[in-house]
């Protein structure tokens, strides 16, 4: 009977599957993204004094893209990291950092143009975001989060990224 053969086959697949158990400690992507944003803030020098806070701005629709609670109100070199939700990218000029998820990919060019030469560190998940003028692009590769840096855009905005950060980048434009 066909069914019995099928069950036998499945069962053997199952058992074989058990034998090859592998374990690795993995971290949820949203938390990893938050940790990266924290590190980007840590390794960036802003030209003008930013006061006591570093303002990270995110668009309303992107709130759920990273675990904001893991980094909000943490101290970075004595400054408080705050997270502000803004309704449009126009409002980003008063921020130190701006994060744009891949869902906003169609607005990348517009945002780059709007913020041109403003000292706002722009970070995105959009594919080819760095090539289009965003300063840092996070990307998933082989289940690990990596990033590309558009250092020309960084320098035009009078920002400085530490050598340590640049060393870990996958690509530097």
């Amino acid at each position: 009977m066909m069914l019995r053969h099928f069950i036998k086959l499945l069962l053997s697949l199952l058992l074989f599957g058990v034998a090859t158990t592998v374990h690795a400690e993995a971290v949820p992507e949203t938390e990893m993204r938050a940790a990266y944003l924290y590190n980007f803030a840590l390794f960036t020098d802003w030209p003008n004094p930013t006061g006591d806070t570093i303002r990270l701005c995110i668009l309303k629709a992107d709130q759920t893209d990273f675990a904001t609670e893991k980094i909000e109100n943490k101290l970075i070199n004595g400054k408080l990291l705050t997270i502000t939700t803004i309704s449009s990218s126009n409002a980003a000029k008063g921020c130190q950092m701006l994060y744009i998820s891949s869902y906003q990919s169609s607005s990348v060019r517009k945002i780059v143009a709007e913020l041109e030469d403003t000292p706002v560190l722009t970070v995105t998940d959009t594919e080819n975001g760095a090539a289009q003028g965003m300063m840092i692009e996070m990307l998933l590769d082989n289940n690990r989060l990596g990033f590309k840096v558009n250092n020309k855009a960084v320098r035009r905005a009078n920002l400085t990224l530490s050598a340590k950060l640049l060393r870990l980048a996958k690509t530097i434009y």
Binding site: L14, A26, V27, M32, A35, S87, R109, K110
Partner: protein, 666 residues
């Protein structure tokens, strides 16, 4: 009704069912290993260690890419894998308010009240990466093994309900199926796949995809499918002269597919071809029953070249140049005489559009399209029927942000038909209001049209159908209210309430001067009202649920319930990993309510349960997937088209199996 059906199937004692509930939890418990707990906060771990740490991709309900102020349902590549969908028809069958009917030749799509089997047009536009894949003879979408794409090449399928003529013109009548294919990068190397299944079925596929160092992305794929099919019984032919209604070896199907795409900077080139041959066991159009040969061949192909660019910071442009062709061949015997038919359709076109965000609060879309259907030929035993036509169109839309949470979307498209020397206007007006960031309410009014296709208008074979050159376009006016609620990125609730008024519906009918012929006429007006609701949720544990219910009522101007239009449709998809995510089970449940046949008899509703098990852990880079469709061996039938007369309903497959192995060379 649904409840009764469910409990009936659930109480059925079945060895396999029992096996599932007993074996799986035990197996999972047996290998339970506690994962080492990460205690150090991530922000205290140096970045150079973070880049080496593996991440678990977050569970997220997919967001639509189709730019439309309507209700959009989404099936992703992950769903296709987890629920074991092998054809586009199976993908569509799981979606909110949609259903398919198979007459053992073609699969027809139904939704929003309309689903007449044999209605090739189906009134839904199929887009593959922006290319309109419907042919120019029958306007058919080809959802089965006659379709252009292997489901493994699909990244996502979006169903945009409601008229889309404002953007796509002729034929985007009740909705749009928008398919986005995978990129070479998604394969990142060579992938081979082999499958076997019930009814002597097998399929092999080989795909290569890569993103090159210069950023270019390439994908090439080919597959071959073969099925011996079944010996079927049709009670309407139950007489000794027609082998007591039994067909032998007359359900065979085979296809071959090719697909390639390349993307480099702003350019994208893509092409596909499918050649499918299927036997017809139903002896359509009064052919001799259980007599070989009786087969049809459908071959579709296309090439499309797209260029995206931007002018300054505010203007984005997109231009697509396309060519498509479709060939149909048929062989059959009528009263012992051999019958032979060839139909050929060829077309090309160019569509160019730009979006402008220069003006504050406005997103303006302007576009134009020229399409030449330069060959629409039927080569029939009685002679050739030749035709050609063209369409020139312009369209404009504006998305106007009135306030922070109110958007107004309005636009119109003007199509000029060179054949009839007349133009059509398709407007749409939509208001979108977000009282909360998580909630959007969309109210829209739209109008769409569909011109009679070459088959409906000109086909005249002297035996079954009479042409009707006076056939006019059909029109639909639709009002729809949509509610979308996303409390978080893992959950999505979608509801819609609609009313459609269709004028001059094109349908085949008995020819007034000779009842042995059919003719397409502008039959009557019809009304459809309905609502549907869909809930989708993903968990970080990998669990996924998508459930929907749709109610619809479609009646013609005399108040007669439309053919093959179930009032109730319910769907449930549930999938979860087990054994430390090395295995996954996907359950697909569909309930289709009772429907009226061409003979006005009522064909009973049915509940179908499909189960797919996927394993990723058998060997590195090997994925094994096993599906059982129609798990509880439910006897059910789909409504036959008028061409299949005297057959009223077509029995569907019983419990059947499918085993697929996919290997990635990395």
């Amino acid at each position: 009704m649904l409840k009764a059906n469910l409990s009936l199937t659930l109480i059925r004692r079945h060895v396999f069912y029992a096996w599932i509930i007993t074996t799986f939890p035990c197996a999972a418990v047996a290998v339970e290993v506690t994962a080492p707990a990460g205690t150090t906060p991530l922000i205290d771990i140096p970045l150079d260690q973070l880049v080496e740490t593996e991440v678990i991709t977050a569970a997220k309900v997919a967001r639509q890419v189709s730019d439309a102020p309507s209700a959009v349902s989404i099936v992703t590549a992950e769903d296709i894998k987890n629920y074991g969908y092998r054809t586009l028809a199976e993908v569509i069958g799981s979606m909110r308010g949609l259903y398919t009917s198979y007459d053992r030749i073609y699969t027809y799509m139904g939704g929003r009240g309309f689903g007449r089997t044999g209605d090739y047009a189906g009134r839904v536009m199929l887009l593959i990466d922006g290319y309109q894949a419907n042919d120019n003879l029958y306007n058919a979408s080809y959802l089965g093994h006659d379709g252009l794409l292997d489901t493994e090449l699909i990244d996502r399928v979006e169903y945009v309900s409601g008229p889309g003529s404002v953007t796509y013109g002729n034929g985007a009548f009740y909705g749009i199926i928008n398919i986005i294919t995978k990129k070479g990068h998604d394969f990142n190397g060579l992938q081979v796949s082999a499958s076997i299944g019930s009814y002597g079925t097998n399929k092999e596929r080989i795909t290569y995809g890569k993103r090159l160092d210069n950023g270019a992305d390439i994908l090439v794929s080919t597959s071959v499918y073969k099925s011996n099919g079944q010996n079927l019984h049709f009670k309407e032919y139950n007489s000794p002269a027609t082998n007591n209604g039994n067909t032998r070896n007359l359900d065979e199907e085979g296809n071959r597919r090719y697909f390639a795409k390349a993307q480099f900077e702003q350019w994208a080139l893509e092409g596909g071809y499918v050649n499918r041959i299927k036997d017809d066991p139903t002896a359509s159009y009064g052919a001799d029953f259980n007599v070989r040969p009786n087969w049809v061949r459908d071959a579709s192909g296309f090439v499309s070249l797209k260029h995206n660019d931007s002018i300054g910071k505010d203007v984005n442009t997109s231009t697509q140049l396309y060519y498509g062709q479709y060939t149909y061949n048929a062989r059959a015997a009528f009263s012992g005489d051999p019958y032979k038919e060839t139909d050929v359709g060829r077309w090309w076109g160019v569509d160019s559009k730009l979006t402008d965000t220069h003006f504050a609060n406005h997103k303006i879309l302007l576009g134009g399209e020229y399409r030449s259907d330069y060959q629409q030929d039927f080569y029939l035993p009685v002679g050739a029927v030749r035709n050609n036509s063209y369409m020139a169109s312009v369209y404009a839309q504006d998305e106007y942000t009135l306030t922070d949470n109110i958007n107004l979307n309005f636009g119109t498209r003007l199509d000029y038909s060179g054949e009839r020397k007349s133009s059509y206007i398709s407007p749409r007006l939509a208001l979108m209001y977000s009282p909360l960031t998580s909630t959007t309410i969309k109210a829209s009014y739209a109008s769409a049209f569909r011109r009679p296709n070459a088959y409906e208008k000109y086909y005249d074979d002297g035996t079954s159908q009479v042409a009707n050159t006076g056939l006019k376009k059909e029109l639909v006016n639709a009002a729809e209210l949509v509610l979308e609620h996303r409390p978080d990125s893992k959950t999505r609730l979608l509801g819609s309430l609609y009313h459609y008024y269709t004028k001059k519906l094109i349908a085949s009918n008995e020819y007034v001067f000779d009842s042995s012929f059919q003719q397409y006429i502008n039959l009557s007006d019809s009304k459809t009202k309905g609502f549907d609701i869909e809930l989708e949720r993903r968990w970080d544990s990998g669990m996924h649920i998508r459930s929907s219910y749709a109610w619809q009522l479609a009646e013609d101007s005399q108040g007669l319930w439309l053919t093959n239009s179930p009032k109730h449709l319910a769907k449930l998809n549930f999938s979860m990993p087990f054994m430390h995510k090395k295995m996954r089970a996907g359950l697909d449940l569909q309930y289709i309510g009772e429907r009226a046949s061409e003979f006005r008899t009522v064909v009973g509703g049915y509940t179908l349960v499909n189960l797919t098990l996927t394993s990723l852990a058998i060997a590195p880079n090997l994925q094994v997937s096993a599906s059982i469709r129609n798990l509880f061996a439910r006897n059910y039938a789909h409504i036959a088209s008028s061409a299949a007369m005297p057959i009223a309903a077509i029995p569907q497959d019983g419990r059947n199996f499918w085993l697929q192995m996919t290997y990635d060379f990395k």
